[in-house]
């Protein structure tokens, strides 16, 4: 894994992003900067545009207006190659667990031996050592998501996007995944993660982006947002109201 130099922060920025579909404004983010250490959590109710923002930041969806900036330049293919994403429903190849990792490592051009070693490291990181030869499709929900994260990490990303990776999982599985995310963050990988779980934000976030109706209503350190939310919508959401 690439270790980032602390004096060269990985700076990700949304600049005037707008996405419309059928005349409806789905995303409107004039300015959002993510350059601090530690995980950024995007929080908000369903339909707030969290996943859409994540896909724009990763370059999977091209915004109708505005752009995503990486380290001061417009996001390009080279930047995208240093990003990875984990989806809400893990999309695993219909192969064995280790073949899923091998697929990514092969694309990086690693030799056979190097790949073998790397696969062992990754499996250990995700606690999947005993599952190496099992079909990826036969894994439990938690294992499958761990494998999806390992496969994303295998790319050696500078930025890892996660779209509600634990929304369908029980607390034990969630805990393992959160630990993996924190370890990656500690190694210097920028984490940008969508959740609607306030508790998860509390456990993981260094800073929190609060979204509602396609807009960022608040962005600040976890402490600020969780303890002294500035905006009415944030307060209601954090208080457990059914905000839509």
């Amino acid at each position: 894994m690439r270790d980032l130099m602390p004096d060269m922060p990985n700076c990700l920025q949304a600049d005037g992003l707008r996405v419309e579909r059928n005349g409806k404004l789905l995303l409107d983010v004039p300015q959002l900067m993510m350059d601090g250490p530690g995980p950024t959590l995007i929080l908000g109710p369903n339909g707030a545009g969290k996943s859409l923002l994540l896909r724009c930041l990763h370059g999977l969806i091209k915004a109708d207006a505005g752009q995503v900036m990486q380290d001061g330049g417009v996001l390009n293919a080279a930047h995208m190659a240093r990003q990875a994403m984990v989806f809400q429903q893990p999309v695993l190849l219909r192969r064995s667990v280790s073949a899923n990792l091998d697929f990514v490592l092969k694309r990086l051009g690693l030799g056979r031996t190097a790949r073998k070693i790397r696969i062992q490291e990754l499996l250990a990181e995700g606690g999947l050592e005993t599952k190496a030869r099992q079909s990826a499709r036969s894994l439990s929900g938690g294992e499958a998501q761990r494998l999806a994260i390992l496969r994303a990490l295998a790319l050696g990303p500078e930025t890892l996007f996660l779209d509600e990776p634990t929304s369908a999982l029980d607390p034990a599985a969630t805990q393992m995944i959160e630990a993996m995310i924190l370890r990656a963050s500690a190694r210097g990988v920028r984490i940008v993660m969508v959740t609607h779980d306030v508790g998860q934000a509390r456990r993981l976030a260094a800073d929190i982006v609060m979204m509602q109706g396609g807009r960022v209503v608040e962005h600040g350190t976890a402490k600020q947002v969780l303890e002294a939310p500035q905006c009415q919508a944030s307060r209601q959401y954090l208080a457990g109201w059914l905000v839509t």
Binding site: R95, S96, A99, R107, R133
Partner: protein
């Protein structure tokens, strides 16, 4: 109607005693159809996958055409191939008419649209599921084709079996381009047609039973093989 029982037992006797003529016919049927299906796979799978993944003008029309070709009458295919391979046809110099190769060509023409159309269907569904994930991993549309083909392998084997079923059961095309020549181009279906025309209905029916048996055996063998492949894939990957 003559004695069905005696003709059936005659056919059973031919099978059980490993009658060399009958075995040659069965083996030739398998060679021709299996090779036709393999060639169809080499052509049809990439074409089907490309149609599933690529976006270009005329794509829908091509898909409709391909689906329609799935039901192309074998006799017409036989005639087309005959006209190509006839000594007075453009490919007459190859001297392929009335050879097993001509039969393989005809069956390949019949089976390729089936393999391509079914591949297109299978791959399109899988591509939808994989699309975002593969793009996130930096896999281009073109590069995604082999990934999709490999991950759809089980469904594709089924597509090939469908093609094999059409090939091995087909008589209209092979009888025209093969000529049903004894010991050269006589296969199961043309033998059945011949025995029927001789009025040996029970023998024809018995041969038909072997044909069904072969179809079942091939399906069972392939399904066993894919199962093993699946497990092997898990062990070696």
């Amino acid at each position: 109607m003559q004695d069905f029982a005696s003709q059936f037992s005659q056919a059973g006797h031919l099978i059980l005693t490993g009658d060399p003529d009958l075995w040659a016919i069965v083996m030739l049927s398998l060679q021709v159809s299996v090779l036709a299906v393999l060639i169809s796979a080499v052509i049809g799978m990439p074409v089907g996958a490309a149609l599933a993944v690529a976006r270009f003008p005329g794509r829908r029309a091509l898909i409709i055409l391909m689906n329609a070709l799935m039901g192309f009458p074998p006799v017409v295919v036989g005639l087309l191939v005959y006209l190509m391979l006839s000594r007075s046809g453009p490919l007459g110099v190859l001297e392929l008419l009335y050879t097993p190769t001509a039969m393989i060509i005809a069956q390949t023409v019949l089976v390729t649209p089936i393999v391509a159309a079914l591949t297109r269907q299978v791959i399109e569904m899988l591509a939808e599921e994989y699309s975002e994930q593969l793009r996130s991993l930096g896999v281009s549309r073109l590069a995604s084709v082999p990934v999709l083909l490999w991950d759809a392998r089980l469904a594709l084997v089924t597509a090939l079996l469908a093609g094999f079923g059409r090939a091995i059961a087909e008589v209209g095309a092979v009888i025209i381009v093969g000529g049903n020549i004894n010991h050269v181009t006589r296969v199961m279906t043309t033998t059945i047609a011949l025995e029927t025309s001789k009025g040996n209905l029970a023998l024809a029916l018995a041969l038909g039973t072997i044909l069904i048996g072969i179809a079942v055996a091939v399906n069972a063998a392939v399904s066993a093989l894919t199962l093993r492949t699946e497990q092997e894939g898990l062990r070696h990957a």
